[in-house]
């Protein structure tokens, strides 16, 4: 497995699949051996992955990091289209092309109470985030200091899915000591309703003026609702709860050269411009995103 890129910090490799395990309905955790990326990648950054040698499907797909260890990184995926159907067939020893680390990642600012909001497969960046915040792991090049202080005292995951079967990785979040607030469309697990209902309750319960941060990842309509909810909550309560949103805009390259993955982002002068989510995101300040 030769290192193919010539510049430090950015890696393109043919890498081996180590393990594939089921996380939930149509959802899998794929472990890929790639020490260079596993050791460098930060929370909220992503990798592009494709099946080695195939021309159909052709392009890589973007995946957040679910977790890492020294030599491997895990992505979690929902079987949805042409590439993820191919992923489902992968067995240990098979090869994927992988490139990264990509994107900006979350700012990871310390806070008292971190609230993560996920819809669909949008929970994937949040296991690493929770472990990092609670002082159980450090991601990125930094060594885990022996006396690491947690970056948050509490971490809550508001997580919405179609029904109970589609929740993926709940045990991983429980093991990480994350407080779960689940919602389903049909009430088969957690509260019946939308994930934004769960977020609303968390915001209402925590009445401290500061010490709350919100991060969100999921379908675009959900993210727009989260932005609106936090904006109006801040307005009504005179709080300044920071919100960071990770966009799932479809990408072709992941590295800033194709100009596919643009989102409307507010500029300093108040106008908007299309910005590439792959290199200027995928994480944006909630207020900066202009929703159609």
């Amino acid at each position: 497995m030769a290192e193919l890129s010539s510049c430090p910090g950015y890696h393109y490799r043919a890498a081996q699949v180590v393990q594939q395990v089921s996380l939930g309905k149509d959802t899998y955790r794929l472990r890929i051996q790639c020490p260079q990326i596993a050791r460098a990648i930060r929370v909220g950054q992503f990798v592009m992955v494709r099946v080695h040698g195939l021309q159909d499907p052709l392009l890589g797909r973007a995946f957040a990091i679910y977790d890492t260890d020294e030599d491997c990184l895990d992505i979690a995926y929902l079987v949805h289209g042409k590439m993820t159907h191919q992923f489902e067939l992968l067995r240990p020893g098979d090869q994927v092309d992988i490139w990264g680390p990509l994107g900006n990642g979350f700012s990871m600012a310390p806070t008292d109470h971190l609230v993560m909001v996920a819809g669909g497969i949008g929970q994937t960046p949040f296991l690493a985030m929770a472990q990092h915040y609670l002082g159980r792991r450090r991601y990125g090049a930094a060594e885990m200091p022996a006396d690491a202080e947690p970056l948050a005292n509490r971490v809550t995951l508001c997580y919405g899915a179609r029904n109970a079967e589609y929740f993926a990785g709940l045990d991983d979040f429980r093991t990480a000591a994350v407080e779960l607030r689940l919602t389903t469309d049909d009430g088969s697990l957690g509260e019946k309703g939308l994930v934004t209902d769960a977020l609303q309750r968390v915001l209402d319960e925590n009445t401290r003026a500061d010490g709350l941060r919100v991060c969100a990842c999921g379908p675009e309509r959900m993210l727009a609702s989260v932005c609106e909810l936090v904006r109006s909550h801040n307005l009504n309560t005179d709080r300044r709860i920071p919100l960071e949103v990770s966009l799932e805009t479809p990408m072709a390259c992941g590295i800033g050269i194709c100009f596919s993955c643009v989102a409307k982002i507010r500029q300093l002068d108040g106008s908007w411009d299309y910005r590439r989510t792959c290199i200027e995101g995928p994480v944006f300040c909630g207020e900066a995103i202009v929703w159609d």
């Binding site: 193919l4 890129s5 010539s6 510049c7 910090g9 950015y10 393109y12 494709r50 021309q55 159909d56 499907p57 052709l58 392009l59 890589g60 042409k82 092309d97 490139w99 805009t249 479809p250 072709a252 390259c253 590295i255 800033g256 050269i257 194709c258 100009f259 596919s260 643009v262 989102a263 411009d273 299309y274 290199i279």
Partner: protein, 307 residues
Amino acid sequence: MAGDHEIDLRVQIGSSLTLPNPILVASGTFGYAQEMSRWVDVGRLGGMIPKTITPFHRPGNSPWRTVETAAGMLNAIGLDNDGIDGFLTQHLPHFLPLACPLIVSIAGASPDDYVQMTRRLSCEPGISALELNLSCPNVAGGVDFGIEPNTGSRLVEQVRAATQLPLMAKLTPNVSNIADIARAAEDAGADGISVINTLLAMAVDWRKRKPMLGNVLGGLSGPAIKPVALRCVYQVAKAVSIPVIGIGGIASIDDVMEFLVTGASAVQIGTANFLDPTLSLRILDDLPNALRYLGARSVAEVVGTLQ
């Protein structure tokens, strides 16, 4: 067996431009070099063609801008770019330290747009040639200069009169006779012909009864179009005596060699950069051995040698 030092990779375009090797990267598939400098030594390429610039900033089309199809993709980016002012101030300075030739791709809505941009770019140091994008399929309202020989040749003539820089005309395959257009561009003073731009195409989601692209129509690229591109290179190379630069679905050294023997003097790698940012340079590394396989000591020896 000849050693590496004995293989001559150079390619001559016009009288003033010598490319160090025939592996170029296509406009719109390599950003502005800043992005790709993180991945590879861009300066080793035979030439770098940044994303097409226009007289003014264009935000581009609304998403979705790309969609994958069988062994290819459609794009309708819509010439999203910072305009010539943005290019000169924000992007050009990053190209200047690179060792490879810089070929600037331009597009406009009128011949005057092309001429004005050509004049300005001709005053800038560090630009080796211009590629006239006569054929972007994704911009509504503009004249498509590449679909009719007379309009195309008049445009090339006017640009020719405005600059000493070598000119490459990039042609669309969405025409009935691409050889006629290429011949007209050569007669008008072009120094090279780049073929092909993307094929006008469409993808549909029948469940939603909607087109997949925000722009409805887009350009098909990737391995799926390679046979069409080879056909166009074959027809154009027979029709003109200036160099032909082959573009379309190139993803391996074998693809490159197919284009060279069919009549391309150089190639541009496009969509494949999206799935492997290191590909162009790996192909370059493989080139001497492939030439050696044919017993050649130079690129020029194999160009257009179909038997």
